[in-house]
C-alpha cells in the first residue's frame, strides 16, 4: 500500500509541477464560466418575465427557475459533466502512456511493485487531479450563495444539500472518466492516441440518449439505462440514487480490472 501511495504522490507532483494540468484547469474554468454566465442570463430572463406576468402564466418547465438551486446550479452541474468529458482525457492520457514513452515502464516492472499497487497508485493520482479540477467549479455555487437571494424571503440562496449531492454526482462522473482514461492510456505509448481514444469512448456515451430515440423496446430501455446522463439525472437534482452509484462504481471497477490485466500482460508478452 505504501508503494501505491508513493506512486500516487509521484503522479500528483508531476501534474502540479508541470504546466499541462494548469492548462487543463484553465480550460475547465473558462468553459464552465462561459456556460455559467449563460445560465445566469436565462435565469434572469425568466425571473423578469415572471415578475411581469406572474408565475402561473409561464410554461410549466419554467418552474425550475423559481430558485437558484434548480434554476442555475442543477443545470450548471449538467454542463460541468460535459466539460469533464472533454477535459478528463487530457488528464488521464499520461498515466501509463508517458511511462512507456519515457521507458520508465521497465523501471516499474522490474522493481518489486505488484501490478495492483501500480494500477491503484496511478488511479489515486488521477483521482487527485480530477478532484482538483472539479474543485475549481465549486466557486460558482459559492458566488451564488454570496450574491444571490433566496426564493423565500429568509434563508440561504441555495439548498446546499442538493448542490453538494449534485456535485457528488459530478465527482463520480469525473472518477469514472479517469478510470476509463487510465485503461486506455495503458494500451498505448502515445498520449495523443490515448486522449483521442478516451474521447471516442466517452462521447458516444453521452450521445447514447439521442440514439435511444431511434430504437425500439426493449433495446431502448437498455440504451437509456446505459446513458450516463440519465443515470446522473437524479443525483443532479438532489436525489440520492444508489443505482447510479452502483453503475459508475462498476464501470470504475471494470476499468481498473482491465488496466491491471494490461499491465500483467507485459509479463506474458
Amino acid at each position: 500500500m505504501r508503494t501505491a501511495l508513493a506512486i500516487a504522490r509521484k503522479e500528483l507532483s508531476i501534474y502540479f509541477t508541470t504546466p499541462w494540468a494548469y492548462a487543463v484547469f484553465t480550460a475547465m474554468v473558462a468553459l464552465s464560466s462561459f456556460f455559467f454566465m449563460g445560465l445566469l442570463q436565462s435565469f434572469q430572463q425568466v425571473q423578469e418575465m415572471a415578475q411581469e406576468h406572474g408565475w402561473n402564466r409561464l410554461p410549466p418547465d419554467a418552474a425550475v427557475y423559481r430558485n437558484l438551486t434548480d434554476g442555475v446550479v442543477a443545470q450548471l452541474w449538467g454542463v460541468v459533466l460535459i466539460v469533464t468529458l472533454f477535459v478528463a482525457p487530457f488528464l488521464s492520457m499520461r498515466l501509463f502512456a508517458e511511462e512507456r514513452r519515457n521507458k520508465t515502464f521497465e523501471l516499474l516492472l522490474t522493481t518489486p511493485v505488484r501490478p495492483i499497487e501500480l494500477v491503484l497508485g496511478k488511479y489515486l493520482g488521477g483521482l487527485g487531479i480530477i478532484s482538483t479540477a472539479l474543485g475549481l467549479t465549486i466557486v460558482f455555487p459559492l458566488i451564488l450563495s454570496v450574491f444571490g437571494a433566496s426564493a423565500s424571503e429568509a434563508g440561504a440562496a441555495l439548498e446546499w444539500p442538493t448542490v453538494l449531492l449534485g456535485y457528488g454526482g459530478v465527482l463520480l462522473w469525473g472518477a469514472t472518466c479517469m478510470a476509463v482514461g487510465m485503461f486506455i492510456s495503458s494500451l498505448t505509448e502515445s498520449q495523443m492516441v490515448a486522449a483521442l481514444l478516451t474521447f471516442v469512448v466517452l462521447l458516444p456515451w453521452m450521445l447514447l440518449r439521442g440514439l435511444a430515440q431511434g430504437v425500439e423496446e426493449p433495446l431502448r430501455s437498455f440504451v437509456n439505462y446505459m446513458a450516463f446522463d440519465s443515470q446522473l439525472q437524479n443525483m443532479l437534482v438532489g436525489v440520492l440514487d444508489l443505482k447510479a452509484l452502483v453503475f459508475f462504481l462498476s464501470v470504475i471497477f471494470f476499468s481498473l480490472l482491465l488496466t491491471h490485466r494490461t499491465v500483467e500482460a507485459q509479463r506474458w508478452a
Partner: protein, 242 residues
C-alpha cells in the same frame, strides 16, 4: 548454487529469434561481461533476467528463484539499469531517487541516508536538486546507475553503464563496478572492450542470439586466438564476423 543460472534461454518474435539456447551461470560475487554486436540479444537477455519479458523457452533463475514463476522475489534482489536510463524528466534527482527507493521497498527510516549514499558513490550529490531534464547526458547516466544501486541489491544488471560518459567518468564507473564485486554479483553489457578486460573475470560473447564464446578472459585467447597475446577485440571481431 550459482547466483544467476540461465538454461537454454530462447526468445522468439514472430519471424526470428532474438536469443537462442543461451546457457550460462554467474557465481556469487562474480562479474560477467556481456559482449556482442548491436542487436545481438544482450538487452533482451537482460530484460528476461529482470522479469520484464518472458522467455519463449528455457529458464532463468536469480538467487534460486525462477524469474517467471517468482518474479517478485527476483525483483527484490536485483538492481537494473536498462539501455535507456528510466528517468522521469520532470522530477528532481532527489525526488526521483527517493521515489525509486520507495518502489524498491527501502525502509522509510533509512531512505534519505540510502539516497545520499548512492548519490555519493555515483557522484551526483551536487545535482540533487536539479530537474532531470536539465542534466547533461553524463549526469543522467549516473543517476540511472544510482537508482540501480538503491537498496544495495545482491545482483546488479547493467546495460551499457558507461554509455555517454566521458573518459574520466568512465574510469570512475569502472572503479565503482570493481568495488562492487565480491559483495554483489554483476552482469554488465558493453561495447567497450577495454572495460571488459579491466573489470570482468568472465566474458560471454553473443552474436545473433547465439552464444559464441563463454569463458574467463585469460582462457579466451588460447581457445579462440592464435597467439597468447591476441586482443579481446580481435577475438570479438573474429567470432562475430559471420
Amino acid at each position: 548454487m550459482a547466483m544467476i543460472e540461465v538454461q537454454n534461454l530462447t526468445k522468439r518474435y514472430r519471424d526470428r529469434s532474438a536469443i537462442d539456447g543461451l546457457t550460462f551461470s554467474v557465481k556469487e560475487g562474480e562479474i560477467l561481461g556481456f559482449l556482442g554486436p548491436n542487436g545481438a540479444g544482450k538487452s533482451t537477455t537482460m530484460k528476461i533476467l529482470t522479469g520484464f519479458l518472458p522467455p519463449s523457452e528455457g529458464t532463468a533463475k536469480v538467487a534460486g528463484f525462477d524469474v517467471f514463476e517468482q518474479p517478485l522475489e527476483v525483483k527484490r534482489r536485483i538492481g537494473y539499469l536498462p539501455e535507456t536510463p528510466p528517468l522521469y524528466p520532470e522530477m528532481t534527482v532527489r525526488g526521483y531517487l527517493k521515489f525509486v527507493a520507495t518502489l524498491k521497498q527501502v525502509p522509510g527510516r533509512g531512505l534519505k541516508a540510502e539516497v545520499d549514499r548512492v548519490a555519493e558513490s555515483t557522484g551526483v550529490t551536487n545535482v540533487m536538486d536539479r530537474v532531470i531534464q536539465n542534466l547533461s547526458k553524463g549526469y543522467k547516466q549516473r543517476v540511472g546507475i544510482a537508482q540501480a544501486l538503491l537498496g544495495s541489491p545482491p545482483v546488479l544488471i547493467l546495460d551499457e553503464p558507461t554509455e555517454g560518459l566521458d573518459p574520466s567518468q568512465r574510469a570512475e564507473v569502472r572503479s565503482l563496478i570493481k568495488g562492487l564485486a565480491g559483495k554483489h554479483t554483476l552482469i554488465l553489457s558493453t561495447h567497450i572492450l577495454p572495460e571488459v578486460t579491466m573489470t570482468c573475470e568472465k566474458v560471454l560473447i553473443i552474436n545473433q542470439g547465439k552464444m559464441v564464446a563463454y569463458d574467463e578472459i585469460k582462457n579466451l585467447a588460447s581457445v579462440h586466438g592464435q597467439a597468447e597475446s591476441v586482443s579481446l577485440e580481435e577475438i570479438f571481431i573474429k567470432l562475430t564476423a559471420a
